[in-house]
Subunit: 512 residues, 2 copies
């Protein structure tokens, strides 16, 4: 019953008229990523979201995943949709051509991520986790690990996971107890239980590549003693196929409030063989490559759900006839006026629309920073992009997901009693959106990251850069008669933000 | 896995030390309702909530109601629990002894309502709707209607409903199309379809008494042309048993976000025989007796869910070990400190606790006003109670349910990922709490009622009375050294509220 259209006009406006997406094609290795090509890819991607993934969103929620003696079956249609998704090359949009990827800008996959989440959040988790594993192995894997795993993650024949949480260790990873015992051949025997592992087991791929945090025998206490291992569900054969099973089993799947078609697994490692990724005890650094990407991605989940909820609330508000406008009938031939005439309904919808468009503008700007950080020839530009990304990651994660939930919830209210009924789809968006405030670090953890790490980082350089950018935008607006009226409020908001930042900087994160 | 204890200590404190519950026994007809007796009843009621109803809350949610060819079966255990509930006389706590009720103050049933909702919101809907039908028939039924129906509603052998909404007419009841055709014997043939009918069909009672809004052939347009009819599912036999079936059928039940053990029904009236309740075209007046009680009851749903969610979040925060306090280890022998030491966790829990205790204080105060309005010998006292109840009804409905949802949601966040898992129960409280912001008039409709009807009512008399009461409390606090520091903030808040009220009064509700 609900519908979804990818907001391509808004995306094009942001990419081509607001944020200078044309600069992407000037970056080394992205010469082919012209505005036209990007438009074409986004348009094709939109069709996949609208026609392949969105139609499975409600049925996937109603059916959920099936667990039977260690195996997990995804809901009807997911396997076929994933095969189509793979066949289109969508598992490797911004992955390196060296490993079979399309080699498009990260900007493109970042923009698509919002659309995937809007269309079918549960589905998006499977390729999303795989891409996270690709990123971490790209950054820290050995040449051999890259050769074995990256082509499989890029073509989507194998999936990936991040195995961090244990029953007693979530936010506090320093107390995790999964062990890694050195074996004679240089590999490690991994033993322990991980919980809340998204895409930990499923039937979409022939193999799953687990990136697992564990402790070596000589590990220092706390997060400084955590190492990362690559632990395949099946051992890769020399010819690249998936071979004999490893000691990795799925113990159960969770029954959750939402994202019911995403398999959230208990994964048991019983002396499973794994290989160290990067240096011993430096696993958190490697995992943060994956986690930072995931945090931005989770932010986009909030925005995507807010968008699809908005579209359906707006459609309902235009069709549903109830009551009369305070200023006189607007639909005099009908039994009543569409509820869009009522101030409270308009206020709610405009609030969501304003936030969605603002978040999307920030999202596209952030996406371009990802490519600048990777590829710009000038080290100073790369450094600035990295600074701004570090600063904005917790902001986007927390702000987009808090508003994503609140907006989906406000959109539900627009439908009154019908919003509470499954058939209309709105209550699923609320249930699905709720997890985004929790995973990849709760939003309180994002606040700690922002205040404790990102604000003081490099003597405050990232936040000063951000203020300078905003100041520049406010000054430009003030000088433009068409925008001057907004510049005043923006300048006042910037002043308050600077004052609050100073207050925090003076006190530090020690709670004094 | 979750637990629930009725907050009896807080209730006793409010009833016996803050709000002078002893005055109830001074009211005519309530002479036996001494503080001791009330305590005993509330203690016994708490045992029913904790031991009979709460244990069925999660299983009822997981199972939901079953619909099969017009019949509705409640989840396992509900029939037995309802039988126990009836046997204890809980269906008639504050009903008149004339019809078999206990004749206790409404204060007692009002206080119990919060506890029933906290223990099992879905279950509470069945006796809650019956009591609403009892209230409307008590106020507007003919002597014959009272004699037929009230004893059955009081002893719980029959249930009740309120049938207002139609597919095209929810907030806007004026456009409903259910017809009532006069028959020769003075009864009416009722034809139409009602939706979202809570307790519309189920297996807990041998008969169901529907109170139905419909239009007579000569009805004026809009809400001024709505009449109320009593339409039994089965005709009452002269001996008081349920006899032949009426033309009332259940077409389907809704699949909802929450309150899954509460049957939300499509009810079809196909020339069903009904009898007019009260005067022709004055049905809204009669229905509002039921609706005002229901609005207060829905407010208590918000408070109840906030309380049970709080209790479980607090218990988790005391047990869950994660991280260390900023001020140094508080549990040095353990792997980590309980998360209650973290400022953000404390802040969230204290916020919920403060709101719950404040809402409960207002709830008990309101409850006493119900008995004063009914029974006080002095007409001026009755009038004041009625004024304050009229004013506070939309406030309690909207404020308690908005905070009920927000608090349950904040409590869920305290559990991190575990909050999102069904087993822990928190996500059910959030899903169940969501409906309370919608039904019995969305919270936007409550705002319209407050500003459009209640503020201007009797030239502003109710709100002036409220301000005078608050002013008195602020002055008393200011004169008490132990409370003076709070009086300043309270006085400032009162000033703002008066200013906002004046602003609204000057503009009226016409949106100008």
């Amino acid at each position: 019953m609900p519908a979804f259209r990818v907001p391509l006009d808004d995306i094009r406006f942001l990419l081509h008229h607001v944020h200078d997406g044309a600069q992407l094609a000037a970056l080394p290795g992205l010469e082919e990523a012209t505005p036209d090509l990007i438009d074409n890819v986004l348009t094709e991607g939109a069709a996949v979201c609208e026609k392949v993934l969105f139609p499975l969103n409600q049925s996937g929620d109603a059916e959920g995943v099936h667990f039977d003696q260690g195996t997990v079956r995804t809901p009807a249609g997911f396997k076929e949709a994933y095969a189509q998704y793979r066949a289109g090359g969508w598992t490797g949009v911004s992955s390196s051509p060296e490993y079979g990827g399309m080699g498009l800008p990260k900007t493109v996959s970042f923009i698509m991520e919002e659309q995937l989440c809007a269309a079918n959040l549960s589905f998006s988790m499977y390729p999303g986790l795989s891409h996270g594993a690709y990123s971490a192995l790209s950054a820290y894997g050995s040449p051999e690990q890259k050769a074995y795993y990256l082509p499989k993650l890029v073509d989507g024949s194998w999936g990936g996971t991040m195995c961090l949480t244990e029953a007693h260790a979530g936010t506090d990873l320093g107390i995790l107890t999964t062990r890694a015992e050195p074996l004679d051949d240089g590999s490690f025997g991994i033993t322990g239980q991980k919980i809340f592992i998204s895409a930990g087991e499923h039937d979409l791929t022939e193999n799953i590549v687990h990136l697992v945090l564990a402790k070596l025998p000589d590990a220092p206490a706390g997060t400084r003693g955590i190492s990362m291992f690559v632990v395949p569900k099946r051992f890769p054969n020399p010819d690249g196929t998936a071979g004999a099973p490893n000691g990795v089993t799925c113990g159960s799947v969770e029954h959750k409030m939402g994202i019911k078609a995403s398999a959230t697994c208990v994964i048991n490692f019983d002396g499973a063989r794994g290989w160290l990724v990067g240096e011993p005890h430096k696993g958190m650094r490697a995992m943060f490559v994956m986690m930072n990407g995931a945090r931005l991605g989770v932010g986009l989940q909030g925005l995507g759900l807010s968008e699809v909820a908005y579209q359906n609330a707006l459609a309902y508000a235009k069709e549903r006839l109830q009551g009369r406008a305070l200023t006189g009938p607007k639909n005099p031939g009908g039994a009543a006026d569409p509820i869009l005439v009522h101030p409270d309904v308009r206020k709610g919808l405009l609030r969501i629309k304003a936030l969605n468009e603002g978040m999307r503008a920030l999202s596209v700007w952030t996406a371009i920073r990802l490519d600048l950080e990777d590829r710009h020839p000038d080290a100073a530009v790369r450094e600035e992009a990295a600074d701004l990304l570090a600063l904005m990651t917790p902001v986007i994660k927390a702000f987009f997901t808090d508003h994503g939930f609140t907006n989906a919830n406000l959109a539900l209210q627009t439908l009154g009693g019908h919003g509470y009924i499954r058939e209309y789809g709105m209550e699923q968006y609320v249930r699905d959106a709720r997890i985004a405030q929790i995973y990849e670090g709760t939003n309180a953890v994002q606040a700690l990251d922002l205040v404790g790490r990102k604000l003081p980082m490099e003597g405050g350089r990232p936040v000063r850069r951000f203020f300078a950018l905003v100041k520049g935008a406010v000054d430009a607006a003030a000088a433009d008669p068409a925008r001057a009226e907004f510049a005043k409020a923006q300048g006042a908001a910037l002043g308050l933000l600077q004052k609050a930042t100073m207050w925090l900087a003076e006190r530090g994160a020690d709670g004094s």
